[in-house]
């Protein structure tokens, strides 16, 4: 584009802008929306650094009357239970992302080869589950009773590892960005498909792999559902599921206040205090909130590749 054209285009853009008042109005509106989206995170953080006393007397506040790091000290001291959950979360996230990447990329590569004879068959294999499912109950029975994965980390890892959405995304990427000539020439040199896949295709597809890897990482870190279904053992509960359990215990106590009577107070005393609960929420949210702005562009590219239909 020549300089003149560029200037002309800028002129057009300037001419085509909305009026100044509209701009101010829209800006204010979007700042308002942005605040609504960020506010809860700030509030929960502030609660986590409030003293118990101040929560009890003044309720939750955006600016606590009395600051305290007691909640974080408590978390640090009760390492066994909370650190245990933290480690489970990390192990599941790391292992899950690796397993997921292996399973999704390998079949996506096969599907991306146009001369692959069984391409049609494998396309159906990934396409049918997008439309039709067996339902939650038979899924539960399959994992818990048939595979006997109940109370193992595999119950948290395997069910989420593969997604037709990721496969379609990766396949489209392999098809559009890996040149056929590159693969053909490697084949002439006698390379097997495994070799081509691992030494040529994967290294040049890093952006797509990063995208799917991020999707998987966030999905595993945020998962509480599989733990809710399959994990009873206290030592294998990830952070998110732990938050869910605390919440259920509170709901149970509240629903049964009349029957529990005096023991209700005792039960509540055993649960983590409010600031500690909010501190756990902060620990769960912080890695996400700090990292997603930098990875955003991968997500956006992933979403736009995924939306390409065929």
């Amino acid at each position: 584009m020549s300089r003149y054209e560029k200037q002309a285009l800028e002129g057009v853009e300037r001419f085509n802008r909305v009026s100044k008042t509209t701009n101010i109005g829209l800006s204010a509106l979007f700042i308002f929306f942005a605040i609504i989206c960020l506010m809860p995170v700030i509030l929960v953080f502030m609660i986590s650094i409030s003293s118990e006393q101040s929560i009890a007397t003044y309720g939750y506040r955006f600016w606590p009357k009395e600051f305290s790091l007691e909640a974080y000290r408590f978390l640090w001291e009760s390492k066994e239970s909370i650190m245990g959950s933290f480690i489970v979360s990390i192990v599941v996230t790391v292992l899950g992302t690796i397993v997921g990447l292996l399973l999704n990329t390998s079949i996506a590569y096969s599907l991306s080869r146009r001369n692959f004879k069984f391409r049609g068959f494998f396309t159906w294999v990934i396409f049918i589950p997008m439309l039709f499912g067996g339902g939650m109950i038979s899924f539960y029975i399959t994992v818990a009773t048939v595979l006997k994965l109940k109370d193992t980390l595999w119950a948290l890892i395997l069910p989420m590892a593969v997604s037709s959405f990721y496969i379609v995304m990766l396949r489209t990427f392999f098809q559009t960005t890996v040149p056929d000539s590159l693969i053909e020439s490697a084949k002439i040199d006698g390379a097997s498909q495994f070799k081509i896949f691992t030494t040529i295709v994967l290294p040049i597809s890093l952006p797509a792999i990063a995208t799917v890897g991020l999707f998987l990482t966030f999905a595993y870190w945020n998962d509480w559902y599989n733990a809710l279904l399959f994990i009873d053992n206290n030592k294998l509960v990830p952070l998110q599921a732990m938050l869910n359990r605390i919440q259920n215990d509170i709901a149970f106590i509240n629903d049964n206040l009349s029957t529990l009577g005096a023991s209700a107070a005792e039960l509540i005393a055993k649960l983590p205090s409010e600031s500690v609960r909010m501190a756990i929420v902060v620990i769960v949210v912080l890695p996400i909130a700090c990292s997603y702005p930098f990875f955003q562009k991968y997500f956006i590219s992933g979403l736009t590749i995924g939306a390409v239909k065929e």
């Binding site: 285009l9 085509n16 802008r17 800006s27 979007f30 929306f33 942005a34 609504i36 989206c37 809860p40 995170v41 509030l43 929960v44 609660i47 309720g59 939750y60 506040r61 399973l103 079949i107 096969s110 080869r113 692959f116 004879k117 069984f118 494998f122 990934i126 049918i128 589950p129 439309l131 039709f132 067996g134 339902g135 939650m136 109950i137 038979s138 539960y140 029975i141 399959t142 994992v143 048939v146 395997l158 593969v162 498909q193 495994f194 509480w224 559902y225 279904l229 919440q247 709901a251 629903d255 609960r277 909010m278 929420v281 996400i288 997603y292 955003q296 997500f299 736009t304 939306a307 239909k309």
Partner: protein, 315 residues
């Protein structure tokens, strides 16, 4: 000659074998986690019980066929109407608002003078998408808690009496819809914004020369050009009309029994069966219903869209 060609076409090359081997582990995953559970749909037509000492398949085979009895029972319970109504009504609202609001916001944010401000706001609005419903339910609790929540503090500072948010179902349709939009609007905006930025600028230049106003540009250029992506998102949403976001309906109300009428959906109902408080057979019937109707709606929506305008189907 013809025969020879055929033989050649069906000859499996070394490549095919290697590519099949590459696809095999994932195919096994699909067989185990997607296709095998589909057998479980039979539970809906059986008087299913796990036989002690027998596996799932053996129990399934030896339990008695009961035809459509489970469905009959399901639709006779007073709960059925509530869970169906909730699932469908919430989804209809979600589909309408979940299309209109992100499209409108994506177009609007594209008009801001300051690109930096637009980027910052968009990033902030994308945050809820990355959070789990468990975490969001804690956020909500910080606002709605009876004795400590921000909303009740505001109400009492204005001289109003506090509200028992987790006891009164009448507020929950609004809360559920608001929280759904809160969590999903950033994602929708990103999708539509990507489509809008992909539009060729020369269309707008031509329109300006012809004296088109901003509204006309939006109406006759932007919306028609992002229509395919709107339709894809719409069909996918319609296909899920009998499904509900389990986290949204299970986590946000904190499992409070008082809110059942406003927050129970097919998925929370099915979960109760797994938990042991509901009927396995009836929940399977509900799940089967959900799967089949979902499949039919997605195919129907796709056909209708294709009839109306040729190419814009999903498949």
């Amino acid at each position: 000659m013809d025969k020879q060609n055929k033989v050649k076409r069906f000859k499996v090359s070394r490549d095919d074998i290697e590519l099949t081997l590459l696809a095999l582990p994932t195919t096994i995953w699909y067989l185990v986690f997607s296709f095998f559970p589909m057998i479980g749909i039979l539970i809906a037509f059986k008087d299913f019980r796990m036989m002690p000492g027998k596996g799932f398949i053996a129990s399934l085979i030896s339990s008695e066929w009961v035809g459509l009895t489970n469905f009959e029972f399901l639709f006779k319970t007073p709960d059925a109407l509530i869970i169906l109504r909730n699932t469908v009504c919430y989804n209809v609202i979600f589909i309408i608002l979940g299309t209109v609001i992100p499209v409108a916001l994506a177009i609007a944010i594209n008009q801001l003078y300051s690109k930096k401000l637009a980027k910052t706001c968009q990033t902030a609005m994308f945050l809820p998408h990355f959070l789990s419903w468990v975490v969001v339910s804690y956020f909500l609790f910080a606002f709605l808690s009876y004795d400590k929540g921000i909303i009740n503090q505001l109400l009492s500072s204005m001289g109003q009496s506090s509200v028992q948010w987790y006891m009164d179902p009448k507020y929950w349709p609004y809360i559920i819809v608001f929280m759904h939009i809160w969590k999903s609007v950033g994602y929708g905006m990103v999708v539509y914004l990507a489509a809008i930025t992909g539009i060729d600028q020369t269309y707008y230049e031509a329109a300006i020369i012809d004296g088109a106003t901003k509204w006309q540009q939006i109406r006759y250029i932007t919306i028609p050009l992002i229509k395919p992506i709107i339709i894809i998102m719409f069909i996918m949403a319609v296909g899920g009309i009998f499904r509900s976001d389990f986290g949204l309906f299970y986590q946000l109300p904190r499992n409070a029994g008082a809110l059942f009428n406003a927050t129970a959906t097919i998925d929370t109902y099915v979960y109760r069966a797994i938990e042991g408080t509901g009927s396995m057979a009836m929940s399977s019937a509900a799940a089967f219903f959900q799967s089949v109707i979902g499949f039919i709606t997605i195919v129907t929506a796709n056909t209708i869209v294709k009839k109306i305008d040729g190419e814009n189907g999903l498949f």
